[in-house]
């Protein structure tokens, strides 16, 4: 029983650790897991195992009360208000649970204490479920559930009280505790719990989860569980110093599918996702966005551009599906030029800047998901040119809102009533985008001028100048990329000027800022664009991932239509109007890092988010159960389709990019695959005969047991009784002969007795009675075993029980005598 108690203590200590870790992975409460782990480990070692110390109950209650007062005071101070405050209040609750649980753990364990510790663990899991929706929750929940089940079962076995003697009036009763093989029970029943009960509970929970009807189309994330995304903001500061640390936390998951075939669209070059444009440069390295244009609040997404001219189209129609983690702004990340696809009315579009925005009423504190189509790609490359999409002064503005449906036809080449499409910047926009204080950037202006001066005069068109300046910063100018900004700031000097004059190293924002200023110094309108640049493709999930370390800044220069080089063909966009020319002056390799990503873990996070955290009313029909009925979207049909494609590829020699082709003479991948398949086949072949032999052995053992009379339960009991005093049947002996010979060997006489009343001391059983009992048992055994009697009648049953009781008394007497003689011998 002591061993069971130790195992039980270990279970509950581990439960405490896991519950603490569950909460520790949530927001605000990262320090609490330390308290939980410390309390669990120390209490297990010193209270439960070594039993050196324990907290007396009054002291424990006092400690719990103090913790409650402290944490509730913190709770009240947080007040109630927005979600962040509610989150802080919940943190106070979490702190209360952990501290009170710690006080419980330091007490000597009783059944009640174990139950209370378990209940606190459960409450901690509930709090963690509110605060923490990361996949770590799901990963930790599995061992925690198994431990909890095992602990609950063990708690049923554990009985700390010895045999209880009850007395009322003349009756005294001593009840039996668990038998001596409680260790075997303690070993077996948790296995039962984990192997049978655990899966059963899990299946029930899954069915419950996926069949419970959701009422809302938004899966809630009530409290800011994860820190919002950094690396992207509406403004940009060049004043940071020190070493910047890269964060590999995922921000966006982008799924690209060809619109016609539905296949995953793979890129050959990094993809740029626009988050914000920064037009206005203020002193001391600050870039800000500047709203201009007729529709400041945005409009619906434009409809798809459909070319009217008959020629070969140099663009691919791609569906974009973006899943964004919680961020600090309403920006939606766009691959421009984009257009609306079916069923996604939530996004707002800023025509002048090709930016997407999630309206406030649709923004959630949790994960956002949006869809659109784009013509930006052609053969895996994203176009550098983006048609200017502006509205002229003739556009009719509506007082009640910007969402004029006509604006959705901006991409149309046909005239739309009330819409005055602009083809170039107006004067205000141009002045903002060419604004530069040349006194602040003398060296930068001079360097730009010198670079341009080196160009042949006939090649000095804006696009060529922009490209030349980009190349200058990127390759030939002696600039280098670094995240270590540990250099001194020169007083009075603009950070961009310092970057050009002195440091000549920095990250993407410095390069982009310098290029924008150089372009402006050459009277070319330019702006910064911040967003993400990524080419990290998850092979398992079939999606691209943008992490915080993929945050990037680049430049867009405005080129008039007539200044467009003849070699450039802009397709998939309207034919008229100015263009934004994307320039990325940051030296290569800076943003291509994939950040040591584990694709499997990333895919697990995707599945966790899709099928658990974000399950809502709109997603539920595409859940597990509709998988059977919805043949278009369910995973099974997709798997079947993939298999079909794989077979086709195998036949055509394209499986695995040709590596697993049947047409190749040798492929190491094929060789490894074949090797493992052969190994598994051989292992199975080896195991099957072993299984058969084992089965045969088991059958033989069963047959032997039947022949030995093991099918007669009272005979089995009799054999066990006699075996306890070393009396066993020899194989040649028949049961009757054996029992006849056993009877004289059981010495019932008590030498201490002086009654002179014979040898009757075994609770009324003398030698003759014992012999009769053996004879009775033998006769009834033969009757039951060979007499064709399925069950004994009541009288025979009674005789069996009486005889067994008599033999049991004799055996106990024999054991007592043996012990006494052993003690006497040792004395």
């Amino acid at each position: 029983m002591q061993r069971v108690e130790t195992i039980l203590c270990l279970h509950f200590a581990a439960l405490t650790v896991l519950a603490g870790l569950l909460m520790g992975t949530g927001a605000y409460v990262a320090d609490l897991w330390v308290v939980a782990v410390f309390a669990a480990v120390v209490s297990f070692v010193f209270v439960d195992w070594l039993r050196w110390v324990s907290l007396p109950m009054p002291l424990a209650y006092a400690a719990m009360a103090a913790a409650a007062v402290y944490c509730m005071g913190d709770f009240i101070q947080q007040g109630s208000g927005d979600l962040a405050q509610s989150g802080m209040q919940l943190t106070s609750v979490a702190r209360l649970l952990v501290w009170v649980q710690a006080a419980l753990l330091f007490q000597r364990k009783s059944r009640r204490i174990f139950e209370q510790v378990g209940m606190f663990c459960l409450l901690e899991v509930v709090v963690a479920a509110v605060l923490n929706d990361a996949i770590v929750f799901g990963l930790l929940l599995i061992p925690l559930a198994i431990l909890a089940l095992s602990g609950l079962v063990l708690l049923q076995i554990w009985d700390p009280q010895p045999n209880q003697l009850r007395q009322h009036g003349p009756i005294h009763i001593r009840s039996e505790t668990w038998s001596e093989n409680v260790a075997a029970i303690a070993r077996d029943t948790p296995r039962l719990a984990a192997g049978v009960l655990g899966p059963a509970v899990l299946i029930f929970a899954l069915v419950f989860f996926y069949t419970l009807p959701r009422t809302s189309s938004l899966a809630g994330t009530p409290f800011p569980s994860r820190s919002s995304t950094t690396g992207f903001s509406d403004s940009l500061q060049l004043t940071q110093l020190g070493r910047l640390l890269q964060n590999s936390a995922p921000v966006l998951r982008i799924r690209l599918h060809e619109m016609d075939s539905g296949d995953v669209y793979r890129l050959r070059e990094p993809m740029y996702l626009r988050g914000q444009t920064l037009e206005r440069y203020e002193a001391n390295g600050t870039w800000k966005s500047s709203e201009f244009g007729v529709l400041r609040n945005g409009s619906d997404l434009p409809r798809e551009y459909i070319p009217t001219h008959e020629r070969f189209h140099l663009f691919d129609r791609v569906d974009v599906q973006v899943t964004a983690e919680p961020i600090s702004s309403n920006a939606a990340f766009a691959v421009a030029p984009y257009y609306a696809t079916t069923g996604e009315p939530h996004l707002h579009h800023s025509p002048n800047r090709w930016l997407l925005k999630i309206p406030d009423r649709y923004a959630t504190n949790g994960r956002n998901e949006y869809f659109y189509g784009t013509n930006a790609f052609y053969r895996g490359r994203q176009t550098e040119w983006l048609r200017f999409l502006g509205l002229g002064e003739g556009t009719v503005r509506k007082r009640n809102g910007p969402r004029d449906p006509g604006i959705a036809d901006l991409l149309s080449e046909e005239p739309v009533d009330g819409i005055d499409p602009a083809v170039t910047l107006n004067s205000n926009e141009r002045s903002i985008l060419t604004s530069i204080d040349r006194t602040q950037f003398p060296s930068l202006v001079e360097e730009a001028r010198s670079v341009v001066q080196k160009m042949p005069k006939d090649e000095r068109d804006p696009a060529a100048i922009a490209k030349r300046l980009e190349r200058h910063l990127r390759q030939s100018g002696g600039y280098s990329y670094t995240l270590n900004l540990s250099f001194d700031r020169v007083p009075g000097m603009d950070p961009i000027e310092q970057f050009v004059v002195k440091d000549r190293r920095g990250h993407c924002q410095y390069f982009a800022s310098a290029l924008a200023m150089m372009l402006r110094s050459q009277h070319i309108p330019a702006r910064l664009v911040s967003g993400f640049k990524t080419n990290e493709f998850n092979e398992l999930g079939g999606h691209y991932t943008a992490r915080q370390l993929h945050a990037h800044a680049w430049v867009e220069a405005f080129i008039e239509q007539e200044q467009l080089p003849e070699s450039v063909q802009v397709d998939g966009q309207p034919r008229e109007g100015g263009l934004w020319f994307r320039l990325d002056p940051t030296p290569g390799g800076a943003t291509n890092s994939s950040g040591n990503v584990d694709s499997a873990l990333d895919l697990a996070q995707v599945l966790w988010d899709d099928y658990v955290v974000d399950l809502n009313s709109s997603r539920q029909p595409t859940g597990l159960f509709s998988a059977i009925t919805d043949s278009e979207t369910n995973p099974y049909s997709m798997l079947a389709r993939r298999l079909e494609i794989a077979v086709v590829n195998l036949r055509s020699g394209q499986l695995g990019g040709g590596q697993l082709s049947l047409n190749r003479f040798f492929s190491w991948r094929t060789a490894v695959l074949v090797f493992f398949m052969l190994a598994i086949t051989v292992a199975l072949y080896q195991m099957l005969p072993a299984l058969r032999q084992r089965r045969v052995k088991v059958d033989l053992a069963d047959a032997a047991a039947v022949a030995d009379g093991n099918s007669v339960d009272f005979y089995v009991q009799l054999k066990q009784l006699l075996a306890s005093v070393g009396l066993r049947r020899d194989p040649p002996q028949t049961p009757q002969r054996w029992l006849g010979e056993v009877s004289p060997q059981l010495d019932c006489a008590d030498p201490a007795s002086d009654t002179g009343a014979g040898r009757a001391t075994c609770d009324g059983c003398d030698e003759r009675t014992v012999a009769n009992a053996f004879q009775t048992l033998a006769q009834l055994f033969y009757l039951r075993r060979y007499g064709g009697v399925e069950r004994l009648d009541a009288q025979q049953d009674r005789a069996v029980q009486q005889s067994l009781e008599c033999v049991r008394s004799a055996v106990q007497q024999q054991q007592t005598l043996s012990n006494g003689s052993r003690k006497a011998t040792s004395t």
Binding site: V126, A129, L149, H168, I173, L202, V612, D713, R798, Q801
Partner: protein
């Protein structure tokens, strides 16, 4: 052994189960209000636990046959075991962690009942397992094991399944028995002196044939087994076992004076404590002697009890006499037994074939009543006065101090 199949199963939530249910409901409400999917999962897990617990409770207790086996004889102040047996008549599903509770109490509820519990951890399908609890009863009388109750909390302890099995069973607790000393034999032997046969040999003159042994000096030549002697080449003689049997008329006289107040009795229910102790002592001595004498099947005994319900047991098998006499002693109540009644009983028992059997009377009276004195003298009746402290010379009872007098004492005949 009585065995009955389990009836309707009732499942009730335990304290822990109520806590789980409350948290599960909280999770459902939280998930509904704030659309928190992780709370839905937690609620699913908790409801899953509760549903599984409920199903296990019901299924575990279904189709169980529970029985009780009491010892054949139960004496006061002697512990005994009550065996509870469970047969799992299901084909597939074992039963785990069964708690079988039995309630024991007097038939007439003069005191509270006590629960005995047996714990069985595993009963495989189609098999039987048993366990026992130990009990001891201080006072003789009739008691009852009331209905059995089987409970299980398996697997998680969130709910308790109960099933009651109505199988009441009455049993008698015989008076506490003591230990007879060697003095008891001397009383009987002294009584037998001069009589023809008080402890008779049974069987042939030499006794029953028992076996062969080597010849020793003093052995009769008639005992030599010639065939074996010829085979072994040395003398071998036959061994005989002499069986002797007791013949006794045992009478327990539970006399209660008719006017309690004249003897200082003030209690309404029949006697003061001293007198009740004497009655119980007489019963204990009678039970001790009866129990000892009836151990051997060769004993010939006649039994009489003068009480509120006079009992005579004679001319029966020893086992029947043993049972009926002990049953009578278990339920006996003292009364105002007249001398004539006692005399009638003594004559009845000493009549016919038992006329040579020595009568032994265990009485709460110090001397035989006047009506019986002639008979006592004539028949050399052994009169045992239970109030006489010298009875310790031949018997040791639990409530007696341990002291053995130098001379055996018995009542005069």
């Amino acid at each position: 052994m009585s065995s009955k199949r389990s009836g309707r199963v009732r499942v009730l939530l335990t304290r822990n189960g109520l806590h789980f249910l409350s948290i599960a409901v909280f999770c459902v409400l939280g998930s509904v209000i704030r659309e928190l999917n992780l709370l839905v999962i937690l609620a699913g897990l908790l409801f899953g636990l509760l549903v599984l617990q409920w199903r296990f409770c019901r299924r575990t207790l279904d189709r169980l046959e529970v029985g009780r086996t009491l010892p054949r004889e139960i004496f006061a102040n002697r512990s005994f075991k009550v065996v509870l047996t469970v047969h799992n008549s299901r084909r597939l599903m074992p039963a785990w962690l069964l708690r079988i509770t039995d309630v024991v109490g007097p038939v007439q509820r003069t005191s509270r009942r006590v629960r005995g519990q047996v714990l069985l951890h595993h009963v495989p399908p189609g098999q039987t397992r048993s366990g026992s609890y130990e009990a001891m009863v201080d006072r003789r009388g009739e008691y009852r094991c009331n209905g059995l109750e089987v409970r299980t909390d398996f697997p998680f302890g969130l709910a308790t399944g109960r099933v009651r099995i109505e199988s009441p069973e009455n049993f008698l607790v015989y008076p506490a028995i003591g230990t007879l000393r060697q003095g008891w034999r001397r009383i009987i032997e002294a009584r037998y002196a001069g009589l023809s046969s008080n402890r008779r040999r049974a069987g042939q003159t030499e006794g029953d044939f028992f076996g062969l042994r080597p010849w020793q000096n003093g052995d009769s030549r008639r005992w030599i087994h010639w065939r074996t002697t010829a085979r072994l080449g040395e003398l071998a003689v036959r061994q005989f076992e002499h069986q002797r049997r007791d013949e006794v008329i045992l009478i327990v006289d539970l006399y209660e004076p008719p006017t309690p107040k004249s003897f200082g009795w003030t209690q309404p229910n029949g006697g003061n404590r001293t007198y009740q102790r004497d009655v119980e002592r007489a019963l204990q001595i009678g039970a001790t002697i009866a129990e000892m004498l009836t151990r051997s099947a060769s004993t010939r005994i006649a039994f009489g009890l003068t009480s509120s319900e006079p009992t005579v047991v004679a001319s029966k098998l020893v086992a029947e006499i043993r049972k009926e006499s002990l049953d009578a002693l278990a339920l006996a109540r003292s009364t105002d037994v007249s001398g004539d009644q006692l005399l009638t009983m003594m004559r009845q028992l000493s009549d016919g074939p038992r006329r040579h059997w020595p009568p032994v009377v265990i009485s709460t009276r110090q001397l035989p009543p006047d009506e019986c004195r002639d008979f006592v003298a004539k028949k050399s009746v052994v009169w045992i006065d239970v109030t006489n402290p010298d009875i310790r010379s031949f018997i040791q009872l639990d409530d007696m101090p341990e002291r053995v007098p130098s001379e055996p004492a018995h009542a005069a005949s």
